[in-house]
Symmetry: none
Subunit: 249 residues, 2 copies
C-alpha cells in the first residue's frame, strides 16, 4: 500500500468517525504503530487533523456534533454492517441494494478485501468506488429520485443476466408469514430480480423492522438465507426466523 493512499484512508476514517485510534489503524492496515504515528503526525502538521494521545481527532469534532449526520439509529446499523462483513469472501461478486444500512456497510468494508460490487444505488456506488481494491459495476436505467436507485426493465434485465455469489438487501419490512416486503413498487421489482438472480441472499434489518409488513412482497422468507440484525442471535424475537430455516447473525 502506498503511503499517500494510507494517509488518505486515515483521513477519510477520521472525517467519518470524528476520531481514530492508532492501535485500531495499525491492525487494520497491517503496519507498525510507528508508521501510523508518523502518518498522523504528518497529517496533523498539514492541518488535516488533530493529533491526540492514542490517536487523532477530526477538526470538526469541536464544532457541532454532526457525526450523527441524520442517519437514524446509526450505531445499530454499524453493528449490522460489521456482522455482514463476515459473509464476504475474496473475489466474490456481490449485488447490493441501497439504503442507509447498506451505506453504513459500504463504509466499513475491510481495506484489503478484493471483490466486485454491483449496485443500482448511487450513494452506495459512491462509497464503493472509494475502496482501493473493489471493482464497481453500476446497474443502469431510469432513476427513482427518492431512493436514488436505478429502476426499470433494463435494470432488471441486466440483473437477470448475472449470477452474483451474494445479494445484500437493505430491508424495510420482514416477517415470517409475509416474507420480505416493501412499499415502492419499482424498487420491489428490482429487489425481486436481485433475489432471484443471486446464489445467496442476506437481509439487513434493524430490529424494529422485524415482524412488520409493507404492501408489496419481494420474496418469501424461505428465499432468505441470512438475516442480520443488531440483536444477538439468541434474542427471542429472532427464534421464529431460525426455526424457519434462516441463518441469523
Amino acid at each position: 500500500m502506498l503511503k499517500r493512499e494510507r494517509q488518505a484512508y486515515i483521513l477519510r476514517k477520521v472525517n467519518l468517525h470524528n476520531k481514530v485510534l492508532s492501535s485500531a489503524l495499525c491492525t487494520e492496515i497491517n503496519v507498525s504503530e510507528d508508521t501510523i504515528r508518523r502518518d498522523l503526525q504528518e497529517l496533523a502538521e498539514e492541518g488535516k487533523l488533530i493529533k491526540v494521545h492514542g490517536g487523532a481527532l477530526s477538526h470538526s469534532f469541536n464544532e457541532i456534533n454532526y457525526s450523527t449526520n441524520g442517519i437514524y439509529s446509526q450505531s445499530e446499523k454499524k453493528k449490522i454492517a460489521t456482522k455482514t462483513i463476515t459473509l464476504l469472501e475474496e473475489g466474490m461478486f456481490v449485488l447490493t441494494s441501497g439504503g442507509t444500512t447498506i451505506l453504513e456497510f459500504a463504509k466499513s468494508l475491510p481495506l484489503h478485501l478484493k471483490a466486485t460490487f454491483i449496485s443500482g444505488s448511487i450513494p452506495a456506488v459512491l462509497e464503493y468506488i472509494q475502496h482501493p481494491n473493489i471493482e464497481v459495476i453500476m446497474i443502469g436505467d431510469r432513476i427513482s429520485k427518492n431512493s436514488k436507485i436505478t429502476v426499470g426493465s433494463e435494470a432488471i434485465h441486466k440483473i437477470n443476466q448475472m449470477k452474483p455469489d451474494l445479494c445484500i438487501l437493505g430491508t424495510n419490512a420482514i416477517d415470517i408469514e409475509h416474507g420480505v416486503t416493501d412499499g415502492d413498487w419499482e424498487v420491489v421489482q428490482l429487489k425481486r430480480a436481485m433475489v432471484r438472480a443471486s446464489k445467496k441472499v442476506a437481509c439487513l434489518a434493524i430490529a424494529e423492522k422485524l415482524n412488520t409488513v409493507q404492501p408489496i412482497q419481494i420474496c418469501d422468507i424461505n428465499k432468505v438465507d441470512v438475516l442480520i440484525t443488531e440483536l444477538n442471535p439468541d434474542a427471542d424475537i429472532l427464534q421464529p426466523f431460525i426455526k424457519a430455516g434462516v441463518q441469523v447473525l
Copy 2:
C-alpha cells in the same frame, strides 16, 4: 510492447483503479522496474498522473484527499452553463458526459424545464435527480474511479441504442485540425459513442482548452455542432471554429 502502448496501458490502469504500483506493473508488463519508473515519471511530467514513492496515483484521487474543494475557474464555467441552457427545449432527450463544467451546468438547470437527461457520470446524475421535473437515466457498466463515470462495452452498447436530441460534452481539448481529443482511453470510447448516437453535439470548453490536443481523438471538428466557451463569440480565437462551420455561443 511499444513504449507508447505501455504508457497508454499504465494510464488506463491509473484512471480505472486510481492507483498503480511500480512493482505490480513491471511483472504485469514484463519489463524492468526502471522502465516503469521512467514511464511514470514521463506521464507525471505531462500531468497525466501523480508520481509517488512506489507507484502513482490518479489526479482525482489526490484531489479528493488534498481537498482543494474550489472548482477551477468556476465563474467561467458558470458562464458556460448559462449559455448552454439556451440549447435546451421542452421534452428533449439530452445525453451528457461528466466533468466539472457539466456539473456546473447541472446545477443551473431552470426549474421549470421538463426533459430527460441521460448520463454515465455519477456526480452529474446526482445533480440531475435534485431537479423536480427532469427524468434521469443512468447508463450502467464498470466504473472508472478517476472520472466517476461508467465505462465499458455495455455502456457503449446502451448508448448506441439511443437517439438523443442533444449531446453535451465536457471537453478537455478541442482543436480545428485534430477535433475533440482526450487522454483517457475508456472515456474516449464512451464519448465517441455519445457523439455518434446524438442528433446534435455541443462541446463545452473553457478558453484555455481551445487549440489544445490530447493523445486520443473523440471526433472531428465537423461533428461538433455547437461550441460553448466563456468568451464572447466574436473573440478572435473563436473565428476559425466559426469558419469551420461550428455554431459558437
